[in-house]
């Protein structure tokens, strides 16, 4: 960088070194701002580099090193120019914005007109399959008497939100902690609904019907029950949000999830209170009800329900493990028999895995609304419909007026090259099939690494990405959901293992030295560590306390360490996953 030295005239750097001058010029030129704005940006960037040079050279860096550091630290000049332009434009006078807004509105109108022409040219969707009905098929197969939702619906409408309940449910305190009084007030004010929640938990399935007017009616009733009468009136007046051109599966609402999670929290707090007052059985039954409610969600058709169910299971099982740890030296045979017979432990053969069928139906529904149908199963992408789906999934509330035009142009360019309906579905199922193969592998199989960027890799390249843009938009990476569900299954195995070792202690006076030493029949489920394929690790700590753990996501046995580490994809985790004593650092 010998060319920079002659440019230096003094240590105040009134004249910047050539590379920095060029950088400033390049950025300023690329902004394409008004002359006055450019001058201001140029002066500020020059001032910035001047300050930087003074400071860095005072710190002992040579001039060349300082210039390099400042230039490298600046980032991408093109991006900077683009962002500076955007920022400066936002600061322009209102009258200018008005004029531009008027022009954009006119152009948007023209664009919309062109869009309608495009629709007329490319055709309209002619959906022939009711995928909402397909998603609802398993629901309707459940007899109405076996459905929990009708009971839970009434529970939700009768639940009370007491003062401070939000803090209580977010902190989930233990007795004696700061928010425990608020938690108990919330429980106390809702005790009248607990029997109904328990009754609903005993049903075989949730039975929530997806879509339709029931959900809308429920939302109105829920708003009224919380005192939001104006909102309820407005919803009633507006009617269900039915866009005849939107894929109905996209419009499905799941307003019950947050309420069900609250019910789970309510029951866990109730269990803690019961346990605190010495009623182990009642406490266990409350937690077991949370387990059952959660399993109803895990059995849902949508991935989001399954993941909420998984979160509820985690909180119930954690308290179950805690409770069993506390009573490990005092639990009676009858209590342990009751535990083993509870729902959480009475289905040893049931393996928890994510149910992905709903995701497939969802994609097929979108396809029939986004492509034309020529009667042979093929068709073309309809730009306006593709835009509608994109908009539903990625609405940007900060979008500027000009963004609409840019979006329209992008949509049209994709439509021009996008694969047809048949090819899109073939590609989707090809990817889906590969994904299922990989998801079937155990977590410790190195081939699963392909999952992390399967979709991106398969659609790599600008042209391929555009040809299958719909797949790129809608095919989720399912590896995290799958792993989460497998970890949930492992937690269930851990619970079975804990009951096994407690039974051993009760009947033989001591814990086994490892799980495989348990007598036959003590393990109702193979306690397999999903990260190794071997049994979960069990040992006694130096003070004689039992320790049960999985080797965790790093797949290294750290002896039951709960030290925090960064896992794959930057997710925080612990070295090992310790189930007993209570699991820390989730």
């Amino acid at each position: 960088m010998s060319d920079s030295a002659p440019s230096m005239q003094s240590d105040s750097f009134e004249a910047l070194p050539v590379p920095l001058v060029e950088l400033v010029r390049r950025v300023v030129r690329t902004t394409r701002l008004w002359p006055g704005e450019r001058r201001d940006v140029q002066a500020e960037l020059e001032s910035h580099f001047r300050e930087g040079l003074i400071e860095l050279t005072q710190e002992g860096l040579s001039l060349d090193e300082s210039v390099d550091a400042l230039r490298d630290g600046f980032g991408d000049p093109e991006l900077a120019a683009k962002l500076i332009r955007r920022g400066k434009k936002r600061g322009r006078p209102m009258i200018w914005k008005f004029l531009i807004g008027t022009a954009v509105a006119g152009l948007t109108g023209l664009g919309a007109g062109a869009g309608y022409v495009a629709v007329a040219y490319f055709g309209k969707p002619s959906p022939s399959v009711d995928y909402v009905a397909k998603i609802n098929e398993p629901v309707h197969q459940t007899p109405e008497d076996d459905r929990a939702w009708p009971i839970l619906r009434e529970v939700i409408l009768n639940m009370k939100e007491t003062e401070g309940f939000e803090e209580a449910r977010s902190t989930m305190p233990l007795p004696g902690e700061a928010t425990w009084p608020q938690a108990m007030k919330w429980v106390s004010e809702n005790r009248h609904v607990l029997p109904n929640i328990l009754a609903a938990a005993n049903k075989s399935a949730l039975g929530f019907v997806y879509g339709g007017s029931d959900t809308h009616d429920f939302l109105i009733a829920r708003a009224r029950s919380r005192g939001f009468h104006e909102e309820a009136d407005q919803m009633q007046q507006d009617g269900p949000n039915e866009d005849p051109l939107a894929p109905p599966t996209i419009s499905i609402l799941l307003p019950h999830l947050a309420d069900l999670r609250d019910m789970g929290r309510l029951l866990v707090l109730e269990a803690r209170d019961r346990f605190y007052h010495g009623d182990f059985t009642a406490a266990w039954n409350s937690l077991d009800a949370v387990h059952r409610l959660a399993m109803q969600l895990v059995g849902g058709q949508t991935l989001i329900e399954q993941l909420v169910g998984r979160a509820m299971l985690a909180i119930a099982h954690q308290d179950m493990r805690r409770m069993l740890f506390e009573v490990r030296d005092t639990i009676t045979s009858d209590q342990l028999t009751g535990v083993a017979a509870s729902h959480a432990l009475s289905e040893p053969e049931r393996v928890l895995r994510a149910n992905l069928d709903g995701e497939q139906l969802f994609f097929q529904d979108v396809v029939q609304y986004v492509f034309t149908d020529d009667g042979t199963g093929n068709g073309r992408l309809i730009p306006s419909q593709y835009d509608r789906v994109t908009w539903l999934g990625h609405a940007d509330p900060t979008a500027q007026p000009g963004d609409a035009l840019a979006r329209e142009a992008r949509t049209m360019s994709i439509a021009a090259v996008h694969a047809d309906r048949r090819e899109t579905l073939a590609k989707y199922f090809e990817l889906w099939s590969r994904m299922k193969e990989l998801l079937a592998l155990p977590l410790y199989d190195t081939r699963r690494a392909e999952l992390s960027n399967l979709v991106e890799q398969s659609l790599a390249g600008e042209m391929t990405g555009r040809r299958f843009a719909l797949i790129g938009l809608l095919l989720p990476s399912l590896s995290n959901a799958d792993q989460s569900m497998r970890e949930m299954d492992m937690e269930l195995s851990a619970l079975h293992a804990i009951v096994g070792v407690l039974r051993c202690k009760l009947e033989h006076g001591s814990y086994p030295s490892q799980l495989s030493d348990l007598p036959p029949g003590y393990l109702s489920r193979d306690p397999i560590d999903a990260f190794s394929g071997l049994y979960l690790r069990f040992r006694l700590s130096p003070d004689g306390a039992p320790v049960l753990y999985s080797i965790g996501r790093d797949m290294v046995d750290d002896g039951g360490s709960t030290e925090s580490v960064t896992g794959s994809g930057g997710r925080p985790t612990t070295k090992d996953i310790v189930y007993w004593p209570e699991r820390l650092g989730r």
């Binding site: 500020e44 001032s47 600046f74 803690r272 820390l584």
Partner: protein, 119 residues
């Protein structure tokens, strides 16, 4: 630690407003202050800083003026406006709620760190 760009997006305006609450600062000073006061976790590239400042200015949250400083160098100083102060208070409240919520989501909140009760 390198923080992902998407995560930083929402945080940096708050960090800048918070720094400007103390006193008016110029661009380079903001870059160094953000880095040093966040122990290097938040790194504000210049290509990010100035667009960010221009956006805040366009929203009326900060205002700028050129001043002559030591050594007769011109610097453009940014200071918080009343509107910026109100936004800062609002965003800090939301930030605290977010941190609390994320703690709950990521660490299991109170459940993760509490010792269990005894009979």
């Amino acid at each position: 630690m390198q923080i992902e760009r998407e995560l930083l997006k929402g945080v940096l305006p708050l960090a800048v407003l918070k720094l400007l609450k103390r006193r008016a600062m110029y661009g380079y000073e903001l870059v160094t202050e953000v880095a040093s006061r966040s122990d290097g976790v938040l790194k504000l590239g210049q290509s990010t800083l100035y667009p960010l400042l221009y956006n805040l200015e366009a929203q009326g949250l900060v205002e700028s003026e050129w001043r002559e400083s030591e050594g007769s160098r011109d610097r453009k100083y940014y200071k918080l406006t009343d509107k910026g102060m109100q936004r800062l208070e609002r965003d800090l409240t939301q930030w605290e709620a977010l941190v609390r919520g994320m703690g709950q989501l990521v660490l299991g909140g109170g459940e993760a760190q509490l010792s269990w009760i005894r009979l």
